[in-house]
Amino acid sequence: MSALLEVKNLQVRVEDREILHGLSLTVNKGEVHAIMGPNGSGKSTLSHVIAGKPGYEVTGGEILFKGEDLLEMSPDERAAKGVFLAFQYPVEIPGVATMTFLRTALNAQRKARGETELSTPDFLKKVREVAASLNIPQDMLRRGVNVGFSGGEKKRNEVLQMALFQPSLCILDEMDSGLDIDALRIAADGVNALRSSDRAMVVITHYQRLLNYIVPDYVHVMSKGRVVKSGGKELALELEESGYAQFEEQAA
Amino acid sequence: MPAELETVERVRRIDVDQYRYGFETIIESEKAPKGLSEDTVRFISEKKNEPAWMLEWRLEAFRRWQTMQEPTWARVDYPKIDYQDLYYYAAPKKKPELASLDEVDPEILKTYEKLGIPLREQEILAGVVRPEGERRVAVDAVFDSVSVATTFQKELKQAGVIFMPISEAIREHPDLVKKYLGSVVPTSDNFFATLNSAVFSDGSFVYVPPGVRCPMELSTYFRINERNTGQFERTLIIADKGAYVSYLEGCTAPQRDENQLHAAVVELVAHDDAEIKYSTVQNWYPGNSEGKGGVYNFVTKRGDCRGRNSKISWTQVETGSAITWKYPSCILRGDNSRGEFYSIAISNGYQQVDSGTKMIHLGKNTTSRIISKGIAAGKSQNTYRGLVSAHRKALGARNFTACDSLLIGDKCGAHTVPYVEAKNASALFEHEATTSKISEDVLFYCVQRGLSQEEAVGLVVNGFVKDVLQQLPMEFAVEAQKLISISLEGSVG
């Protein structure tokens, strides 16, 4: 069986600085992987490179997604293939109504996959269902994308898109940052509802707290641009006890 | 609204006659013959014992000046200046060689004492108790056309810093002067700068060698004393690679019925990784309550961020002068260089201010920041005029500009004239401007809490200018704050 996502010996630079020094990671369908590590360990860089954010230079290694070379694809091609990045800081787009944005994005993905565009009634029905399950009021959908949204609303909007686009790989970048416990629970419930045997998730987080809500199958610890330890969910608890310091030395 | 009426009434009775630096010093002085000709230029050059190249430089400027027109684009209005009816050089009579400060005319020393400018190092060192860690300030005092004293020369010399009157620098460091003089503000730059190039008499010269952080604040104190005398000082500051210097100038003039002309030029050069912080507290005589007298302040100030990562920061508190025409600017030539302009311009009575800055982005990733606070009271006119431009090759240029105006009374005017010019897509410019009055609600709130109307206005104005005051060296921030209150006295507070 071929893996959904294979990151092999990935080396990445930003300007003159190498951030990832040969990182490898394999994620199969149906699995939830957590990537933990201190600030500056390269967690967010990994998520950005998988999604294709400009400004990163891949100097070595490869990323295969469903067996295809992901690094050769533009960000929108990756999205159409099923890569979804839930942003740590979702941007505000004034003047573009959330509803317009959702429909444009969904249809762009469908078109790229050679599928027919969703009819307006079908689209509206689907959005309303998902929005209701995430406690997203209708008026939020009429406003500009994320404009004036609270931190929790922005994250719920990310989960809404995840539910709508049905990607095969979800990368959740520091999904808990800036959320209080109630907002976190709502967002996490939304994510858990999307867990399935067809879909994999990579949960990036600094704190173990999030993993109480989204329980991973595997935990990887990153330090200084490498995965320094991998294990089961108990590894997260262990980290909570002992901190990252032990790995810092190991990586150096 | 009685409070409002009272305010308006006060504005009518406005009293700029409270100018505290308006006394005259009676001393003997030596002047060039009235009027401007090649002979005047030769006279000045000879008085200064200048080398031949310097005279040539001046004469060339003078010849060019004769072909130039006085600019009219600024929003200032004044009777035609008769350039032949002025003296271009005045110096206190002195003994041939000045061995020490003791030989300076005691009247002049008294003048500076009265102005609160200490010139005796021992006094500064021994004098009043100073809080621990407070920085000392080296002062160059310019009285009319000449520098009368420069303090802390020895200590600065040890650090390798050259701080001396520019007339001395021309003789003692001709190579440095030749290399930099006119390299930022060319002799042909504009009418007033060209005039200055022909007849400048003195001013300060600063050179900070590579890697040196100037051990103290440097300061020049300008005083116009003589009647009908133009003051044309020239300042040149060079921060070599990795150097840092903070420089402050202060200005006052006696109270006179006729207008005095001041046309200065300041040139700053910052090499790689160097930083120059230039602060001005300008308090030339603003004229009386009828708009009679006062200094015409036509000044060209420009900094050249010549090297990579260099930084030039202008801070000005402009409260004086009948007319202010002044645009301290930055040429951001070096990659990653930064220019800053922080300004408080207060006009009262019949004062006219047309001031602002130019940020010329030429290098890559250059940044600039402009914070301008204009306060107009009485019958004054207060204009912010600024240019932000990004050259085609100035990739990644960034500017943020905020200019706010506050009007006190309904007989004054506040104007904002920004030019924002982008010639490449990666430039990111943000400009915002507001004009408002002091909210009656805020005043009422303060008065209800026990402040007087004047205190309340002072509070609001000080809040309004806070962002800029913070940029001043600490020693002067307090002084500037007091000055602001004094400038607005009689308007409201």
Binding site: S74, I93, A105 | P418, A425, A427
Partner: protein, 441 residues
């Protein structure tokens, strides 16, 4: 052997321009005198150059070089070509009034359909009317001494004089369509609209070329008086051919408690200048003056607005957006004058430029001139490229680069279009922007 071509001096060319046109210009007596004086003013000052502060960024001496000779009156063939162009613009439900090469074309217009309460004359017929003692005033204004307005007064061949009676609410917009059919000539038009007290009217102006018309010049002026309590919308769409020039002026005077809502969209012309002079003449009036420049190739588009808050208690809002691609150059100058007694003025202006290419240029000059203290005035100006993080977010959600750009650009210009009250006009503006975006490819 080469024959030396003597280039006429600008002065001589100017003199010829008026001399050769004189016989064709309607009006005699007082009208001729006004024209002579206006032309003398123009001849004295010539085309504005960059040393004229108001024209600093649009140096007509360099960009326009000279005023083209007056266009000939359209013949049958020209009218036929114009008819095709007008049909293409006929997408809104309005009373259409067509000017072809500066001359009224009744057969292409909807004159008979006009509602009761609207009086229409052509400019030429009023100028020719010897019984009308004030006919010379149609060519005069005290709102500006701009030299291009003087040129327009000297040379105007036709236009409309429209009156909307008090308390009449027009059901449909009046749509003045300017069509050029010739190459290398200039059309000079001037229209006047007086809207009575409590009346409601919408004026739309379109500028377009008939097939084959090139390098022509449009010199237009519109003068609008809005009576007390009246509501007026003014929408302009400049879609001239890509090598044409368009220099237009709008002069607006607002009465008390009026609502004035204007929008200008410039996507055509290699060189365009739209200058608006708006004066608040009565208290409690409210004006929204918005505009969008969509420029590419080597287009130069200048929008210059001067607002005079001459009386207290008026509000103004200005929102301007420029989208600049290729080597195009956008200029926005906006000046707000608050006169000494205009207390309680609330004036805001926001101008933003989006540069899509490294060689694009945008100059913004927002100005405030304030002589009253109890006012709230502000302006903002930004210049920049499309936000990379927004683009990435959209692409990460599956939009192609062009789709993502188009969505953001539409949102960007949409902020200036929201204020167009009339839905069909708003949609027309949006559709024009969409066409422009689609043409970017």
């Amino acid at each position: 052997m080469n024959v030396a071509v003597v280039k006429p001096t600008p002065e001589r060319a100017l003199g010829e321009l008026f001399a050769t046109a004189r016989d064709r210009l309607p009006g005699s007596g007082i009208v001729s005198e006004v024209r002579e004086a206006a032309f003398a003013e123009f001849a004295k000052r010539g085309l504005p150059n960059r040393r004229v502060e108001e024209w600093k960024y649009t140096d007509l001496r360099a960009l326009l070089r000279e005023v083209a000779p007056l266009a000939a009156a359209p013949d049958q063939a020209a009218l036929a070509k114009a008819a095709t162009a007008v049909a293409a613009l006929d997408v809104i439900d309005a009373y259409k009034l067509v000017l072809v090469d500066g001359v009224f074309a009744p057969k292409l217009s909807d004159v008979s359909a006009l509602e009761a309460g609207v009086r229409l004359n052509t400019l030429s017929e009023v100028l020719e009317d010897r019984d009308n003692k004030v006919r010379g005033d149609l060519l005069l204004t005290n709102a500006t001494s701009d030299v291009m307005v003087s040129l327009n007064a000297a040379m105007a061949t036709d236009g409309f004089v429209l009156n909307v009676d008090d308390n009449v609410a027009l059901k449909k917009p009046i749509h003045i369509v300017h069509v050029a059919t010739q190459t290398g000539t200039a059309a000079f038009t001037r229209s006047l609209l007086r809207v009575g007290k409590g009346a409601q009217a919408t004026l739309v102006e379109s500028f377009a070329a008939a097939a084959g018309a090139q390098t022509y010049q449009v010199h237009d002026a519109v003068v609008v008086w809005v009576g007390d309590d009246a509501q007026v919308q003014h929408v302009r769409l400049v879609e001239d051919s890509h090598d044409a020039s368009n220099v237009s002026t709008a002069i607006v005077t607002l009465g008390a408690k009026t609502q004035f809502n204007s929008f200008n969209l410039t996507s055509g012309s290699v060189l365009s200048r739209y200058q608006g002079f708006l004066r608040f003449g009565g208290e409690h009036a409210n004006a929204t003056i918005n505009g969008v420049n969509l420029l590419k190739d080597r287009q130069h588009g200048d929008t210059t607005l001067v607002l005079d808050h001459a009386v207290p208690h008026c509000d103004s809002r200005e929102v301007f957006r420029a989208v600049v691609d290729d080597r195009a150059h956008s200029v926005f100058q906006g000046r707000i004058n608050v006169h000494p007694d205009a207390q309680k003025t609330d004036a805001r202006m926001m101008t933003r430029a989006l540069l899509l290419s490294d060689e694009a240029e945008a100059d913004n000059k927002p100005e405030l001139e304030i002589f009253a203290d109890d006012v709230q005035c502000g302006h903002g100006a930004t210049t920049g490229a499309l936000d990379e993080s927004l683009l990435f977010y959209l692409r990460a959600r599956g939009l192609s680069e062009k789709e993502a750009q188009a969505l953001l650009i539409q949102a960007f210009v949409g902020e200036a279009m929201e204020s167009i009250a009339d839905e069909q006009l708003r949609e027309l503006a949006i559709a024009t922007a969409e066409r422009w975006l689609a043409a970017r490819g």
